[in-house]
Amino acid sequence: MSAFLTVDNLSASIRGNIRQRVLRSVSFSIDTGEVLGLVGESGAGKSMIGKAILGILPSAVEVVEGEIQLDGHNLMAMKQADRRRLIGATAALIPQDPLTALNPSRRIEPQITNRLVDILGWSKRDARLRALELLDEVHIDNPERVMGSYPHELSGGMRQRVLIASAFAANPKLVVADEPTTALDVTVQKQILRLIRELQTRHETAMVFVTHDLGVVSKVCQRLSVLYGGMVVESSDVPAFFGGPGHAYSRALLAATPKYTDPEASLLPVDEAVIAQVSGEVLAADEGWRHGA
């Protein structure tokens, strides 16, 4: 069976400066119902990949090479309007920051139902029932009240629940979760992760899970790709990765993860020699790419 989402040799550059790549020939694929973790330091380009797939790259960045296949469609070859329609119907985003991801001047209900009514042609009543059902599914106790609230009346955890409900509203086949727990405090993080996993399993959604937290990856993902400087350093199955990463950078990253059982010994920075090695690889890849292009 061919993969549900395939990203092949994807490069993105700063607009007007094709040599300055932010994504360096990224490739990976995800099957239906599978969760792929994208891991890396901040600035490694992990969010960019999710944005490139969904077509919401910032205006300063453009895709310069490569292909994205979503459910058998080549996104890069499609007209923009068709592409947006396809993404609207099959994909959804769980954004990073629940504070800015809900429109502060609108109530929750239309923010969940808008897309169902306007894009997918549901009746207002059906959309409302679906929204209530979803809020219940994300364990919100009083869905009626929450639907009539403004975002600022809800806590961060509640907002993230609403966003998750909203993302799964139209039964998407692909969800891009862009660091969905980073802005939340640790106790809430755990519940939210469990919730995402629960919905993902129930709806058999393919998922790109962007995070910098390897602990989260081990709980949520089946496979992962480690990124450095917009380049995939290593792709592997999760159990194999935690058994022993192949790349020196991955090993260093794993070693740098704080261990709550042993706080004294935990704060290991990534070794400079490893950084030099992986930066060298990035430069070499760029060199090769320039000659190829």
Binding site: S59, A92, L93, A101, N103, R106, R115, I119, Y150, H152
Partner: protein, 283 residues
């Protein structure tokens, strides 16, 4: 007084009320000017020229704020002047807000060539000295209320455009806009239903500020006698006339100037108060 939110709210309340009351009273006076003004603003009475206001010796209690050198009642002229000032403020303010905000929203949200064209236009526009520009426009359009309003819109749309563009850019970068894009909603729908409501408080604050500015511009144009017919009661015209007799009859200058000052101040304070009141986060 204990938490920052509480104090902020209270302060916003006070200025909202004070400015609101002043503007409300002036608006009512303007609306019912023929009923409430004690005299006809145009009737001259050369025997009753330069009468001082009521508390000064030699005043005629029939003329509360005194008379000008032609014996016209200052109070009645101020009340009728409010009509012109408020018509200009409302119509010119709203028209300016519509034109400027629309262009600003488009530039800030669409970016690309739309933004380039609109932003360059704003840059060029702002290089003209505004008052000279207005005088030039009136010279071309001819005097009259409509010309003043057109002149204000033509000069001042850039104020809205720049601020609204920046605000629309801010809002466009928010995740909720990304989510709406991912959901496949049409761009114009996102602009109207997601971005506009969040830019609206800024537009309202600017609008009231703009109304104050419209009052000033109208006064300036009347001052240089480019507003409407010269004997029509305008605040700017009264200030111009009062200037010539400042040593003999200070009240002809002082009262319209004070009213003008308080009105413009109230407009700006009213806007700030409204903005705080309607900010969904501060509310």
């Amino acid at each position: 007084m204990l938490d920052g939110r509480g104090t902020l709210k209270r302060r916003a309340g006070a200025r909202l009320w004070l400015s609101g009351i002043w503007l409300g009273v002036m608006a009512l006076l303007a609306l019912f000017a023929p009923l409430v003004s004690p005299h006809d603003p145009l009737t001259q009475d050369l025997f009753a020229g330069r009468l001082p206001p009521f508390w000064v010796e030699g005043a005629d209690p029939a003329y509360l704020l005194g008379t000008d050198s032609l014996g016209r009642d200052v109070l009645s002229r101020i009340i009728h002047g409010a009509r012109i000032a408020f018509s200009v403020a409302l119509v010119a303010g709203i028209a300016t807000a519509l034109v400027g905000s629309l262009l600003g929203l488009l530039a800030g949200y669409m970016r690309g060539w739309v933004d380039v064209v609109i932003s360059r236009l704003v840059d060029i526009w702002m290089a003209f000295p505004p008052v000279l520009f207005a005088i030039l426009l009136i010279a071309v359009l001819g005097t009259g209320l409509t010309s003043i309003i057109i002149a204000i819109v033509v000069i001042d749309w850039t104020r809205f455009c720049r601020v609204v563009r920046a605000e629309a850019m801010n809002q466009s970068a928010m995740d909720y806009v990304s989510s709406a894009v991912v959901a496949g909603r049409p761009r114009m729908d996102i602009l109207w239903r997601e971005i506009l409501p969040n830019v609206l408080p800024t537009i309202v604050a600017l609008l009231t500020l703009e109304m104050g500015i419209a009052v000033i511009v109208e006064a300036i144009l009347s001052f240089v006698n480019l507003s409407i017919s010269s004997d029509a009661p305008t605040w700017g015209g009264m200030i111009a006339e009062g200037r010539t007799s400042i040593y003999q009859a200070w009240w002809v200058l002082a009262f319209p100037l004070g009213v003008l000052f308080l009105t413009v101040l109230s407009f700006s304070q009213f806007g700030e108060g409204l903005k705080d009141r309607f900010d969904p986060v501060l509310r």
